[in-house]
Amino acid sequence: MSADPLLSVKDVVVDFKTRYGNARVLDHVSLDINAGEILGIVGESGCGKSMTALSIMGLVPDPPGKVTSGSITLDGVELVGMTHDSLRKIRGKDIGMIFQEPMTSLNPVFTVGEQIAESVRLHENANPKAAMSRAVDMLKAVEIPEAEARARAYPHQLSGGMRQRVMIAMALACRPRVLIADEPTTALDATVQAQIFDLLQDLQKDTGTAIMLITHDMGAIAEMADNVAVMYAGRVVEKGAVDVVLSAPQHPYTKGLITCVPHLEPDPPTERVELMEIPGVVPALTELGKGCAFAPRCNEAIDRCTGEKPPLLSTEGTHLTACWVAQQEAAR
């Protein structure tokens, strides 16, 4: 952990101008990913998970959005404020991305082989033939049977799991150092999700790529990630090693996220208990007060929570929590 992180996001603020006023979609988000690490990011919709990914890729829609302050560095190189041309050289080459919906993020009029080869041609100046043979190799690497034949297939001829494999092959074709996977298995069945997770872990072991895994599924985090950041209303509210955060969550939101999901028990109790609920919904980002954004839904909130935003501070070693109550407990 002593070496500089491969990808470092520091105090990034992203604002969106809306009809209802300024929406701060990312509020001083800081994350580090080391080479070979899998960082999980969890939270409900609208918590800023995908926006974090887009800001790293330099894809925040501008206007209406804007990276107001902060710094994102890849191996020491600053990405915020970089020209479009230089960013294009990094996107797809040093940072690869897998999107949630494998149906809409592939181009229906090109064969999947051509689409994988495209990034190799552009980023590595490979000739079409070499690029195509790399594409076939990538399809083999993601365990697609009859890779040569499949490379000539169009996206609609493949199943959902196959398409997601193609997306992974495409993202990894130029051997990126960072792979951002935005809900890569949400649209897939459980058995296919398991295949994709196995594949991502195998590929990561072989290449040492750092992976940022965005998901809303705590189970996926437990199985895949080394570290986890929990986001709520544009802020990181808890961060730490996966086993620590999942076994001893500090922030009431993290606790809620873990307990409100009906987890599959190998030996379910005969009596059924009512599920824990997090009352209410995620607040509109234009209507955040000066206190903790989670306070209105929190059953542990104290007076201080509604008046002052809690900073993200250590509650135990490298386990960080942005919660006044948890910090009080830790100080005791």
Binding site: S159, Q193, A194, I221, D243, P262, P268, R272
Partner: protein, 333 residues
């Protein structure tokens, strides 16, 4: 009315019996030449839901679970088989008889965004079934709508809002209110919480459990999420390619799964209690299910089954009771 628990003879009439249900699409001749392929979406499904209980159907996409739900609702043509809700033979009804019986069985869909009319006010959406069924007088219908809103945790003054002004969870509450408006005996829930955020799922699941306790409803609950099914269902059927491969109560299915497909499905679900090392030991399924057009002659799972033997590829195993209340369709258990 609805706050009072229903009497015993009403409850009696609330059990659902499905016998050898088949739904096939396609078939027949094409315009120019040859036969249209037949898709065997549901191929011989039988189960019984006792009154006031929740029956879960799980399976992956393409397993036929949603088609089963739609067939019971009579929203797709039933190719073969019997469906009876209490003394009403749903599968035999046609036209006006069917329409009149529809107040007894209602459905909630997966996507709360596309299943509510965006141009209708929330109150009118919930009221529409009452108007169509001509239940009560105008004033009674208004009172009923207000009562339904409270029952599902919405405020009666929200009646004037349009669907886009509600969050996903609130919209699913609206769908529930609409389904409840005709005082049905059976509610078919087709992935009712899959499109919702995790924190909102719990709210809706608790609400559904409460409504069942208060009103004695029978639920058919379709889902791909095994955690949710384990939580809410009394009995569960696992479907694969249009057939039930295993069926038993909620405790036994998870404690002692017997069909290789059920085992693989359970193992595929990531667990918060697990860790990265555990997952290497799990049963791993290769490939995708075969096409429901060209079905293999033997067991439909044989091509992906880690245990398959020669007989599995020749004849298809029947769904048999292997232990009390535990049915499995596999030669090897």
């Amino acid at each position: 009315m609805s706050d009072v628990a229903p009497s015993a003879d009403v409850l009696e009439n609330r059990s659902l019996v499905v016998e050898d249900l088949k739904v096939h699409f396609g078939g027949g001749k094409t315009l120019f030449s040859g036969n249209k392929p037949t898709v065997h979406a549901v191929d011989g499904v039988s189960f019984t839901i006792p009154a006031g209980k929740t029956f879960g159907v799980v399976g992956e996409s393409g397993s036929g679970k949603s088609t089963t739900a739609l067939a019971i609702m009579r929203l797709v043509p039933v190719t073969h088989g019997k469906i009876a809700l209490g003394d009403t033979p749903i599968s035999d009804l046609e036209n006006e008889e069917l329409r009149a019986a529809r107040h007894r069985f209602q459905i909630i869909f997966q996507d709360p965004y596309s299943s509510l009319d965006p141009r209708k006010r929330a109150g009118d959406i919930v009221r529409e079934p009452l108007d169509l069924m001509k239940i009560g007088s105008r004033a009674e219908r208004d009172a009923k709508v207000a009562e339904l809103f409270t029952q599902v945790g919405l405020r009666p003054e929200q009646k004037a809002l349009f669907p886009h002004q509600f969050s996903g969870g609130q919209r699913q509450r609206l769908s529930l209110a609409r389904a409840l408006s005709t005082e049905p005996d059976l509610i078919v829930c087709d992935e009712p919480v899959s499109a919702l955020d995790v924190a909102i799922q719990a709210q809706i699941l608790n609400l559904m459990a409460k409504l069942q306790r208060d009103l004695g409803l029978t639920y058919l609950f379709i889902s791909h999420d095994l955690g949710v099914v384990q939580h809410i269902c009394d009995e569960i059927a696992v479907m694969y390619l249009g057939q039930i491969v295993e069926q038993t109560d909620r405790v036994t299915l998870f404690k002692n799964p017997r069909h290789p497909y059920t085992k693989a499905l359970l193992a595929a679900v990531p667990s918060v209690h697990g860790n990265k090392r555990d997952r290497r030991n799990r049963v791993r399924l290769e490939g995708d299910p075969p096409s429901p057009i060209n079905l293999p002659p033997g067991c439909r799972f044989a091509s992906r089954c880690p245990m398959a033997e020669a007989q599995c590829r020749q004849s298809s195993p029947p769904l048999e009771e292997k232990a009390t209340g535990h049915k499995v369709a596999c030669f090897l258990v």
